[in-house]
């Protein structure tokens, strides 16, 4: 919760010495509140005030960074309960489980899938984020070898799973520089795990038997100097886990309850007997507030829908998803194929390209950059109008791909056809259907 200037002023020395660059403590406080100054500019602020100010200005749910390098990801940092209020900040991270009870072939296969399964969508690369490595055997040497093997085979972020500090320490020997998440500190081992985390500056997962216990545990870890915490409330039934996710986020955001102000980790892999059900549980957690989801395996048919759902939920509601502008070739078009034009709003693009595809009519689709606005909205905003469309068509390079000069525009853009015929010399402008679902019939008619 941000403090007001007056609240901050009360914590300052009130000597008006001017060392901070402004003449009075009050002026400095106002600048701090407005984010225009750093507290460190005042050399006289007391340690106590510093702690209070830091606490008060900390985000209600701590953003926690896991991993290093290109596959680093952040979880937490969320500020709202509903995505229409403000963007959900950090997409739920997806982890695949590997244990030291698995065969070498199985381990290699899982790491390969983790590395290989990526999906391109609206110009983004979607993939799983982490490998969760679990010690089943309780043998530190075995764990160390497994972690080393995996760390060499992938640059993905790592989660080390054991409740034995010596086992986690064995794993850390070979991957501490990768900043893995240590899972998990419990009431029984909190001191030892906190020590490991401090020495290796790694984030820690706190696992309680209930929300109450986990809140107590994060306070203990905090006192032990650990602030990068991810929490597991211990729930493994769908109903309890769902409820915990909502209560954890709600109490952090609405009650400013610090002990629960952390991202969460969830385990669909321990909540279902089969991969399909597990996938559904994971999809629930994407919508409702999990920071990390650990899956028992990676199957393409599970991962693909899950990462697309995640993309949808974590899209900025103020900034529509946009696809890359340019020429899209659908159903192998040739120089005689029809040319359609639409905007780069992703939903528009998916609908129009999907309908063209299902028509089976070879076509070119010109996707124009309208800053992610739909046909109607872009038109109203003056971004999908005759002169801009004409310039785009000329520059797109479509004229080199076709022999004819006919352009099909969306039905909702009919008013632009006159202007377009002027702007695009020698082109015939045809008004297509208003609704995407009528495109296949329109294209087939054209052909017959």
């Amino acid at each position: 919760m941000a403090l007001t200037g007056i609240q901050i002023f009360k914590l300052l020395p009130k000597t008006n010495c001017g060392k901070c660059g402004v003449p009075t403590c009050l002026a400095f406080a106002m600048n701090l509140a407005a984010g225009k100054a750093e507290l460190s500019a005042c050399p006289f602020v007391t340690e106590e005030a510093r702690v209070q100010l830091a606490e008060a200005s900390a985000p209600p749910i701590r953003p926690v960074t896991i991993g290093t390098g290109v596959t680093t990801f952040k979880v937490g940092g969320e500020t709202v309960m509903f995505r229409h209020e403000k963007k959900f900040e950090n997409p739920t991270a997806i982890a695949i489980l590997i244990t030291d009870a698995m065969s070498d072939a199985e381990i290699t296969d899982r790491v390969n899938k983790f590395n290989k399964y990526t999906y391109e969508r609206v110009g983004l690369k979607l993939r799983a984020n982490a490998i969760a490595i679990k010690s089943e055997s309780g043998d530190p040497a075995k764990f160390e070898m497994l972690v080393e093997k995996i760390a060499k085979a992938t640059d993905g972020a790592l989660i080390l799973i054991s409740n034995q500090p010596d086992i986690l320490a064995a794993g850390l020997k070979v991957c501490a520089d990768r900043k893995p998440l240590l899972y998990a500190a419990t009431m029984a081992n909190a001191e030892a795990i906190a020590k490991l985390a401090r020495e290796n500056s790694c984030p820690v997962a706190a696992k309680g038997a209930s929300i109450e216990e986990v809140a107590e545990l994060t306070s203990i870890l905090n006192k032990a100097g650990i602030s990068d915490i991810v929490i597991d409330s211990g729930a493994r039934t769908v109903r309890q886990a769902f409820q915990d996710q909502i209560i954890i986020r709600g109490s952090a955001l609405q009650k400013k309850f610090k002990p629960l102000g952390f991202p969460t980790i969830t385990f669909p892999c321990e909540m279902a007997g089969n991969p399909m059900k597990e996938a559904l549980i994971a999809s629930m957690f994407v919508a409702k507030y999990a920071g990390i989801i650990v899956l028992s395996d990676l199957q393409g048919e599970v991962l693909f829908p899950l990462v697309v759902e995640r993309l949808n939920i974590f899209t900025d509601p103020q900034r529509p998803l946009a696809t890359t502008s340019g020429i899209y070739e659908i159903n192998n078009p040739n120089e005689k194929s029809p040319v359609l034009i639409t905007t780069n709003f992703s939903l528009t693009y998916f609908i129009v390209s999907g309908e063209i595809e299902s028509s089976k009519v070879p076509s070119y689709l010109l996707v124009m950059d309208t800053e992610g606005l739909s046909v109607m909205t872009a038109w109203a905003a003056g971004k999908f109008v005759a002169d801009l469309m004409a310039t785009f068509v000329k520059k797109s390079g479509i004229e080199g791909k076709i022999k004819h000069r006919k352009l099909i525009i969306p039905g909702y853009s009919a008013t632009e056809s006159g202007g377009l015929e002027e702007g695009l010399n020698g082109w015939e402008i045809m008004v297509g259907p208003r609704e995407g679902s009528h495109i296949p019939a329109y294209l087939r008619n054209l052909r017959d």
């Binding site: 809140a215 109903r239 209560i247 709600g250 955001l253 559904l280 693909f304 697309v308 939903l347």
Partner: protein, 314 residues
């Protein structure tokens, strides 16, 4: 450690609506908290899944979707019966795809006769869905209302462009209407008001916010539904306190990814991919506030019913 648990200040509840024939009605709605927040309120009636039946054989379905119905796919009556008796359907949604003017363009009389036969053959609630072609739906759905008098069908989509005639017929012949608006909370509310002004009782309306699935992008409908629920439950917006119906099935099964073969683009098994895309989409819609979801694949439905049972388990 004692937890400070936030309480949402609810001030309203979703209207309870009875669907289906007198002797065998199903009630939907009635929840007075956000979806599945059973620790804050009550969800007296679980969300329901309506199984989809087409009035003419499907043209573009992938193998995975045809397979469960391959023996009945040419006959909507046996198809509907199979859904009920083999797959345990609690409701049927009959899609009048044959009436599409850009397709078979079947006439209103013929289409309505098929609806009548299906309605006579089953006793679970029957949803009848047109093609969203305003003129054609007006002809077809008014005819359906008349021919199926007193069958208490659920008729949709009824849109701002064509609500008058269809809703009037629904009032006259005692059917529930599906008020359909284009992913916009204000237009949804406005249509409910217009229907009210025309004389449609509030307990004869379901809202259709126009949904999409994973594949096309769910973010818009997801948020519009959440906002509808928020308005109805916490802002006393009575005109948005109606149960929400989501016509999901085709939105998923028409997407490109459902049609890709096994292992293409690292997308795994084609059949399971389709099932999961449908079930996960339904999961998100239920979490956003759906009360009735129209679905296609029996295995996707089974998964979703399990999730609903788990989420509402005591």
């Amino acid at each position: 450690m004692a937890i400070e648990i936030p309480k949402t200040p609810y001030s309203g509840k979703v209207r309870e609506i009875k669907l289906g024939k007198e002797a065998k009605t199903i009630t939907v709605g009635g929840e007075n908290s956000f979806p599945f927040y059973v620790f804050e309120g009550a969800m007296p009636h679980k969300p329901r899944i309506a199984m989809e039946v087409l009035d003419s054989p499907p043209q573009e379905w992938p193998q995975a979707a045809i397979e469960p119905f391959v023996d009945v796919i040419n006959d909507p009556i046996t198809w509907a019966k199979k859904c009920i008796h083999t797959y345990g359907a609690e409701m049927i949604a009959l899609q009048l795809v044959s009436t599409d003017p850009n397709g078979m363009n079947r006439g209103a009389d013929e289409a309505a006769a098929v609806v009548k036969k299906v309605s006579d053959a089953i006793d679970v609630p029957l949803i009848v869905w047109g093609t969203a072609n305003h003129e054609k739906d007006t002809q077809v759905l008014t005819k359906v209302c008349e021919v199926c008098q007193n069958k208490r069908l659920i008729i949709g989509p009824v849109e701002e462009k064509n609500y008058k005639k269809i809703a009037a017929a629904a009032i006259g012949y005692k059917h529930t209407v599906v008020a359909s608006s284009p992913i916009d909370i204000n237009l949804a509310k406005q249509l409910n008001i217009l229907l009210g002004n025309l004389g449609v009782a509030d307990d004869m309306i379901l809202m259709d916010p126009t949904v999409s699935g994973i594949g096309y992008g769910m973010e818009y409908c997801y948020s519009v539904m959440e906002r509808m629920r928020m308005a109805g439950l916490t802002q006393q917006d009575e005109k948005l306190q109606l149960p929400i119906i989501c016509n999901l099935a085709n939105e998923v099964w028409k997407s490109k990814e459902v049609h890709l073969p096994d292992n293409e683009n690292n997308m795994g098994n084609a059949k399971n991919r389709g099932i999961l895309m449908e079930a996960m989409s339904a999961m998100a819609l239920l979490l956003a506030g759906g009360d009735v979801i129209i679905m296609r694949h029996p295995e996707a439905i089974k998964l979703i019913k399990e999730m609903v049972a788990d989420l509402t388990a005591s």
